[in-house]
Subunit: 357 residues, 2 copies
């Protein structure tokens, strides 16, 4: 990447590394998404969601859309968390209003034994190409985040065949055949590590692992079946390219009880959902990691005034100094007025200045 | 209640009061429910769910059904958490497979201003009559638990008009018009207090408040809009009848971050969902309150062996001495084999003996 320009705005990377910044950086989970009319236009043109993900030009375009509107401090690769199981041959598809599904879910120990880590430069080359293209198009304006689902989260979809409320199938596997569960999670951890390393080699300047469903587990199961495999990935990741650090963020939604355990993986930052008090979280783990979050996404559906009040409260709760990347505690929902996103981003920059004097 | 016989099995009450017991008591949230064929038969006969709730003879019968099969240490009133808003005139109804709905949801500050606490002996007399009848029919075998939804949880259904994933309407109320939200929660707290006190007067020997959706809130919102109103109720409850204590249990699903705050309300026991490590919870608050929980309900869909392993782990995690009421971390689901419930109940009694020597 020596030919690429240096970062014009490196607040996001610096905050993840807990280095001094002038303002608290802000980006928004699912910032490229359905709340933007220009996204809906491209999505309609593409026909289906997977075409959008698997066509680098389109993935690049929707990644850049929110940056043209808002003063965001990072771009995030537009993709889906389920690209890895799809590349393993499970046949990812989307039914309108139903969430993701797999044509060939994992139904037995024999199914698990057949799984192999996909080659990121073969079955997943469309993602790696998108990363290269986006990095080039960003032209150093802001850093590019690469990402993956966590092994546990990927496994839930693979075994349940789609979204689930009770996770009864995957949990039955944990309780009845933990050995097969470990086999599944192990191949997923290797897959995620090589996938994220390929994204880093292609230009991702930070990576994030989304453990959307870790919070559905008991404490011992979380440690054994989710966190253990995120640790395996952290251990395998490229943490520096040409002398430049590549920070890694772990985010377990509903993981507020396990912040110390997550921070102990040697990740650079921990994502917080909105249930967590960010000030208390900083007391617990702020000497080890940066914190990313943690506004309730429901605020985005209200007024600019309510958004400003809540953002101001969270900035004050974190307090003085670097180490905070402002974000929502979960993805932005489709029904949001883009003007409210502008209100949030501008408020974070304005209100945070005093915490970085 | 002086004419009623003394309790033959008082393990449950004693454990809630942290008095010595011979075995860890066990009951199961939704123990009277669809996993029992005899329940499904009565439910079909009744025609609809609300007829079952509002006919004391039928509510009594289904309350007693699981006690005939399993060696449970408590009975819980068969009812719905939404009886109070229904009695307020919101028109509760159930659509097959869709969860509860209200015909007349709360849509404005004017709607809130019109709400009044229902008289438990008028609009809710069917519940109070069921409590009296069940208490009589139990004949002192085991104690009877009365219950209510928490003000916050009731408010979510009343404002959303039914179940919700994002709680966007009720949360908009909290952020945009907190004064009206407080007015709504205040009338609900008074309603729940008089409702539970009427259940206690009619024979309930312990009461529990289900805060099913407190975990959807940020920490400051949880304290301001959910816990504050449970505190108001605890302060108003009848805590003793004829010299006999009436223990009160508070259960916030997803409330693991706030255990110390919940225990500080002066409740007798705190319910734990399965994400919480019960051993750590005991270290945190076990000197103040008893703990109820906390097995992952998903285990019930597996094998008797897996159930025994997990129940044994939880008993060991709590450790020696009284103050633990075994339960699931959430209600039992409809797809469970009743034999698995027997395996759980018997295992808890057998395996726990050594912790009470």
């Amino acid at each position: 990447m020596s030919a690429t320009p240096p970062l014009k705005n490196d607040r996001f990377i610096r905050a993840l590394l807990r280095q001094p910044v002038d303002r608290t950086p802000v980006w928004i989970m699912r910032q490229a998404g359905r709340y933007l009319p220009e996204y809906r236009a491209i999505r309609e043109q593409a026909g289906d969601f997977m075409t959008l993900c698997s066509t680098p030009d389109l993935a690049c375009e929707v990644t850049l859309q929110p940056l043209r509107r808002f003063d965001l401090d990072a771009a995030i690769l537009f993709s889906d968390i389920l690209t890895i199981p799809d590349a393993m041959g499970l046949g990812l598809y989307f039914e309108e209003g139903e969430g993701p599904k797999f044509k060939y879910p994992v139904q037995s120990a024999a199914d698990i034994a057949k799984l192999a880590a996909p080659d990121p430069h073969d079955e997943l080359s469309y993602v790696i190409d998108a990363v290269s293209l986006i990095r080039k198009e960003l032209n150093g304006d802001v850093p590019l985040i690469g990402f993956s689902g966590s092994p546990w989260t990927l496994a839930t979809y693979m075994v349940e065949g789609g979204s689930s409320k009770t996770f009864s199938k995957i949990k039955a596997l944990l309780f009845e055949d933990p050995k097969s569960a470990h086999q599944l999670l192990s191949v997923l951890a290797d897959s995620v590590a090589s996938y994220l390393n390929a994204q880093i080699a292609a230009g991702a300047q930070a990576v994030m692992i989304f453990d959307s469903w870790g919070g559905a587990l008991s404490t011992p199961h979380y440690k054994e079946f989710s966190l253990f495999y995120m640790q395996q990935i952290v251990d395998q990741l490229t943490r520096e390219v040409d002398g430049v650090k590549i920070p890694v963020t772990l985010f377990t939604k509903g993981g507020g009880l396990w912040l110390k355990d997550i921070a102990a993986t040697d990740c650079d930052a921990v994502g917080l959902d909105w249930s967590v008090d960010i000030g208390l979280a900083r007391e617990q783990i702020g000497d080890k990691v940066a914190l990313q979050g943690n506004m309730d996404p429901a605020v985005m559906g209200t007024t600019p005034e309510a958004i400003q009040t809540e953002a101001t409260r969270i900035l004050a709760s974190y307090g003085h100094g670097s180490g905070h990347v402002f974000n929502l505690g979960h993805g932005i929902t489709p029904n949001i007025n883009p003007e409210n996103v502008k209100a949030l981003v501008d408020c974070v920059h304005e209100e945070s200045a005093k915490y970085h004097l």
